[in-house]
Each structure stands twice: as structure tokens, then as C-alpha cells.
Subunit: 416 residues, 2 copies
């Protein structure tokens, strides 16, 4: 007899997983290794930016009031008594008829309050001494960036849980984070189950197929920001599978298995969850593909029983496993982002379950469109590799037509 | 005297770099390490998918013509003489009154031509032998996936130059790529120049600032798909800088320096390019920020002289260095993708140069909007870290208003 399971809604299934609230941990990594990790603390400014009053341009620093009445006819002539590049500090006293040649970013000399740009003065030399001629009034503060004008010490610049991009690395460097507090990568174990599976390096055999799900899921785990631990494949032998899964749980935070969660003669996972004493959160979801996706919880760890069908396996990971991983990485928005898009193809058959269509979205001018990433037979196999989104078609009495506005879940990955 | 440089258009500068056509190289990595690398060859199917005729569902395989006249009143009764899970092959001969219990994915026994689903039969037992009762006609081929129906041997499934995502990893596993041909990561050296720079682990000093550009550029290099080699920072001393840069060129394919490319007293790069005998492709671009971005070529290597200003440095890398890196990774579309978006802020001041505004794009329903990622002072420093796009405002006589349709360059990075 085929076991009858009662499907729950996708949102309910997601909520059941997220309610498990696995906690994230912090570790420190060198700034060199920090990009693409997730911040475990807010980035705070440990000093003002600029840290000192500095010149915004290459020019000459002087005391602005000396230029109060100056014009083409009544120019101000200043002796240039020092020259400072960025990183150097002028140690001289500057009189009111004196100026300092100053480069962009250099600290404003203490007796000066303005900078006149190189291109706005005439340079000359008298008796080997350099002079400049200023022919219009320069205001106090002109061409100066003042201390604390951009950022004040203590300001929060980036929130905890943000993925570290190149701009964030620049902030980390600016504020002296040689070691960066990041979320520790959760360890996620992976088993592929099924006697029909051959490993990638095994020769083909009659009746068998190569294990592709485990490799795919490991790439998804890496993309989610976690660390994958591959435990290999399990033949459909109950006792062996049970022992291997039980043992593996000691080494990981989360365990993913692919295959074996349906109600067929060789679907062993339901029995194994029972034997382990794991609490099954759900084993049937009103979705396609992936309706048999099962999640169980045991001693603060989660066991994801993903379908053996590659698309179902992929979708199951993205919808249910990725968000809990991101929570462990302190992300404020753990779910994949969604958008509205215009459907480019018909899906006329109605379906009681919500469908997640492997899709390719594209912007035509400023409007987002979505269509299936597989359009002919060979794409059954490769449509996942071409997808950048999942189009969500809620279940119900009617189908969908090209031109309908639908929700899309944007997949992470390369933009091209 | 300030040197006068003649600016060239952004497109022309990009073309000059791309015309250098640095060649990519191939290496093999384990499938475990292949994700996020770039394919150095097309992925070809080395066998049909399915590789053999197989059952699409859990059910019973038999010879369909036996069911030709069967109805509720005139049912077909078949003895179940074998049971096969996926991965197993039925070795028995199946007579016309016999059937084989078969699981999804298992190979169709040789004497059978159809599968009836579990839920469509009644199961029974007589003298300990299992039987099924079929009450409606089953067509030849029903519930069978035929050999080669999805993919035929030799088909190209993914193009060379594609970044390997989880779906592609699944294809690589399916087709036995234990070792995956990928583009070798170009080696890109990085120097930060400027006597004002302190390293991230150095204590702050009066007049100096921390080096943030080098760390940012290293993260950009990694994101582009290349390997960064950090050579440290250079003080503004010509001979030392020249020697260090000359020496470093032996170890890398591309060299990036930040700072020192303008026309100030301490901008040494122009002199160094001359001393090296490098051909300067351009040293002034009609863009803001980054107008002083300089690119030079020497012995088949490229030297990118990026501005010392963080935003200019960032934009210079993304516009000019990233595409040539992607070319070396065999990408068909080496440039960042562009889209049209609706501007959310005014930029009323006209500018002769094309501006690249650090921006945050967002989809509101199905329409794309773009606005500056920095809206208040502190964002001058952190706007790069919040940006997911550059808004392109071509130079000209007039400014831009909220509601105008503009081009945006989408930055790579996390979707959230």
C-alpha cells in the first residue's frame, strides 16, 4: 500500500524550518580572506573620516584673509616656504604672506585655513625663491575637507550579517580590521542515496546512473556560505544507511541527503528518521517539484531529506536549507529575493500544487520578464544550469498565460 | 606647470584595453573545486540521457498488448515474477501474463514495453504468489522514459566560458567530469602607492591614512575570477618604486597600481611607465570619477594605473580591468551587464564628462529603479559598500531629473 501523506503549504514548511533557529558562531579571519564572508558584527568607525583637516586638491595652502581684497589689478603675492605631499606634515610656521605647496590628501598646515588650486595661481621665482600670485579672493575653508566631515567616530557603517563585498573590504581596511569578525561557516554533511548511483569517477554500468545531486548540493552549500562535507553515497540497505547517517551527525551542523524520501519500496529515509528518534517537521509539501521534501530535527541539528530528482533537490535546498544557513550567517534577509516579472510562456494546465519553474529572467529596457530556462528536450537536463530564477506559479483552478504578472525568486550566481 | 592631457571617450578606452587580447590558459581541477570557475571547454554529453529505457514512476512493467481489451469487467491478471529498484537489472524472461514490480528510474526489462502506475492496479496474493489486476488498457510506451529522449550523445549542453554554477556541477557529474577543464586564474599583482598610506595593521600616524584601495582591488580581482598577488605599498620614491614594479612584472599577467597617476608632484607612475618602455594606451578618460585612469602595455602584459581615490579606483577596475580578466576566462560576455532603469534622484548640474554614480537599483513590482547608494555624508565613505550598480550619466549640456530613463551597469555580488 502506498502511504498517504498530507501536504502542507510551502510557506508553512519554510516557517517550520526557520522556527528551529540554529545559532550562528563567530570567528576571526584575516582581511585578505574576508571577502564573500558574512560580517559577525557591525562595522563601526574607530576614527573620524577625514581624520584631520586635509586638502581636497593639489594647490597652495595659506591664510585666507590675506586674499580678502585681492583682484587681477591688486594681486596677492605669497612666498612658497614648504612643499608637502600626502602623508607628510608641515612643521613650519606659516606667516600671512607665505604659502605651502600642498598635494591632495595632505594635512592642512596649522596656520592655514584655505587652499587655492594649482590652476588658479601663477607661479614665479625671484632670487631662486618660489612665489605664487593669487588674483581673486579665496574663502576660509575653500578646498578643505574637514575632520569628521564624512564619518564620525563610532558611526555604524555596515550591518552585521552583510556579505563582504569589495566596498566593504575597503571600509574594513580603512578602520583597521586586520582580523575580521565573520560568521563561522556551518558544516553541512551530504549523502547521496540510491543503489542506482555511480560516482563521477566510476565506469558506467547497465541500469545505473551517475550521482549528480550530491555534487550539485555541495555547490549550493558553498554558494549559500557554508562548508560542505561529502560522506559519499549509500546503497539502499537500511542498517548500513542508518549507521552511516547516525555516525555522520556527530561531525556536522546540518545533514543533507538526496533521494530515498518518497514512499517507494527502497525509500529508507522515513524509517531512518524514526530509528534515529528525529522529529519529522513535514514530509509532504504542496509544491512541484519536490513535494516529498522532508525535514527532520534531532538534538538541535536539522536533517534535510531532499528528493532524488535533480530539480526537486535543487529547489528543496534553495527554499528550505539556504535560509536557515543564512540565519546562521547572521543575515537579516535570509531568503532569496523575489520580484514581479512578466511571464513569456503559457502554463495552461492547472495544478493543485504550487509550481517552481526553472527560469531565465531578463530585463528588456526597465521591465523584468521571466520564462522557462528549458524550452526543448535537451533542456530537461540542462535547464537548471541556465536558470537564474524560479518562477512561482501558485496552485489553483486555472493555468497561467504569457503576459501574466508572476512572482520570481532570484537565484544567486553570476550576473552574466 | 600642470601637464595637459587629452581625454578620450570611455568606450574608446575600453576598446583599447580589449584590443590587447590577453590569452587565457586551461587547467584541470577536481569537480569538488570547480564551482565558480569558468569552463575552458564546452560541456558535451558523453552518453544519451536517459542512457537506457527506464520507468518514469513506481509501478509494474509488462507487455502492453496484453491489456488491449481489458476493462473493469474484463480485467487482466498478471503474476509479479520479479521486483527491481533503480540500479538493478531484471534478468528474467517476462511472459505475456507476467509483470515486474519496478521503481522510478529502474531499467525497463527487455520483454516489457509499458509501465502501469502502482496506484492504477489492485495487488493480491494467491498461494503466496503476488498478482496484480489491470482494469484499463495501457498504451505501448506509457510511463517509459526512452533512451536519448532528453539528450543525445555529443550534444553541447553548456558553452565554454560559462561560470560554473550548481546546475552546471550537476551536468559535470552526470557526464563523468571527475577533472574539469577550467580557465586558469590570471595572476594580478597589486601595489598601493603613496607615502601617506599606512597598512591595516599599522598604528595611525598624523597626516597619514590607511591603505584601503589595495584590499578593495584584491577583492575585486577575486570576484572577477582572477588571483590577487599583493606586493605591498610603495612610498613616493621614484627609483624604489620603479625597481619594485619592474621586478613584480615577472610574476604576474597584469599589474594594478592604485594612486600616483595624476599630474601632481608625487605622481610617479607616468615616469615609471616611460622608464619601463611601456606603451601608454591612454592617461585621461572623459569620465568621473577616474578621469586619470591610465593603462599601459608592456611585453604582452597590462599595467592598470588606477586612481588613488577609492571610488575612482573601484570604477576603473570594473570598467577596464574586469572585462580583460573575463576574456582570459573565455567569457563570451566579458562586460558587466547593463539595463535601463528609472532614476530616483536629480542630477541637475551638467558635466562635460560621463559620470558613473555608485548606485542601488531595486525592482518595484516589475520595473527597475536606480538611485545613489550614498545619500548623506557618512555614505561618501560607505556608498561603495552599499552599491549594486553604477548609474551612467553621459556628459553633455544638461543634467538629469528623477524619472529619467538611464543606463545602469549591474555590479556582481550578492543578491540580497
Amino acid at each position: 500500500m502506498v502511504e498517504r501523506r498530507t501536504p502542507i503549504a510551502v510557506e508553512e514548511a519554510v516557517k517550520k524550518v526557520m522556527d528551529c533557529k540554529l545559532a550562528g558562531k563567530t570567528e576571526y579571519v584575516s582581511i585578505f580572506d574576508s571577502s564573500d564572508r558574512f560580517l559577525a558584527e557591525d562595522i563601526k568607525a574607530d576614527h573620524d573620516i577625514p581624520r584631520f583637516d586635509r586638502s581636497a586638491y593639489d594647490g597652495y595652502a595659506f591664510l585666507s584673509k590675506a586674499s580678502a581684497c585681492c583682484t587681477e589689478e591688486n594681486p596677492l603675492i605669497l612666498e612658497v616656504i614648504d612643499e608637502i605631499g600626502a602623508g607628510y606634515v608641515c612643521k613650519k610656521n606659516i606667516g600671512k604672506n607665505e604659502a605651502v605647496r600642498i598635494m591632495t590628501g595632505a594635512m592642512l598646515p596649522k596656520d592655514c585655513d584655505a587652499v587655492v588650486m594649482l590652476e588658479d595661481v601663477a607661479e614665479s621665482s625671484v632670487d631662486g625663491k618660489p612665489y605664487i600670485t593669487v588674483t581673486k579672493q579665496v574663502q576660509m575653508g575653500e578646498n578643505i575637507s574637514y575632520k569628521g566631515e564624512d564619518v564620525q567616530e563610532g558611526e555604524v557603517l555596515v550591518q552585521k550579517g552583510t556579505k563582504i563585498n569589495p566596498g566593504i573590504v575597503a571600509l574594513l581596511a580603512t578602520f583597521g580590521y586586520e582580523q575580521v569578525p565573520v560568521a563561522k561557516k556551518p558544516k553541512i554533511g551530504v549523502f547521496a542515496t540510491g543503489s542506482e548511483l555511480l560516482e563521477v569517477n566510476e565506469p558506467l554500468e547497465e541500469g545505473k546512473i551517475r550521482n549528480s545531486n550530491a555534487y550539485m548540493v555541495m555547490a549550493q552549500i558553498k554558494q549559500a556560505g557554508a562548508e560542505a562535507v561529502y560522506f559519499g553515497k549509500l546503497a539502499d540497505i537500511l542498517e548500513d544507511s542508518y549507521e552511516a547517517i547516525k555516525e555522520s551527525l556527530n561531525a556536522v551542523d546540518i545533514l543533507v541527503t538526496t533521494g530515498g524520501v518518497s514512499v517507494g519500496d527502497f525509500d529508507l529515509l522515513p524509517v531512518i528518521y524514526q530509528k534515529l528518534g528525529a522529529e519529522v517537521l513535514f514530509n509532504k509539501i504542496a509544491m512541484r517539484p519536490g513535494s516529498v521534501t522532508t525535514v527532520a530535527s534531532l538534538d538541535g541539528k536539522l536533517l534535510f531529506g531532499l528528493s532524488g530528482n535533480p530539480s526537486a533537490c535543487f529547489v528543496g535546498f534553495e527554499l528550505f536549507a539556504r535560509p536557515i544557513v543564512r540565519t546562521m550567517l547572521f543575515a537579516e534577509k535570509p531568503h532569496l529575493p523575489t520580484a514581479t516579472a512578466i511571464l513569456t510562456a503559457d502554463f495552461l494546465t492547472s495544478n493543485a500544487f504550487t509550481r517552481f519553474i526553472r527560469s531565465r529572467t531578463f530585463l528588456d529596457e526597465d521591465v523584468l520578464y521571466t520564462g522557462p530556462s528549458g524550452t526543448d528536450k535537451s533542456h530537461i537536463v540542462s535547464s537548471l544550469s541556465h536558470a537564474n530564477a524560479l518562477t512561482v506559479l501558485p496552485g489553483g483552478q486555472t493555468g497561467y498565460k504569457a503576459g501574466d504578472r508572476v512572482q520570481v525568486i532570484m537565484l544567486e550566481g553570476n550576473v552574466n
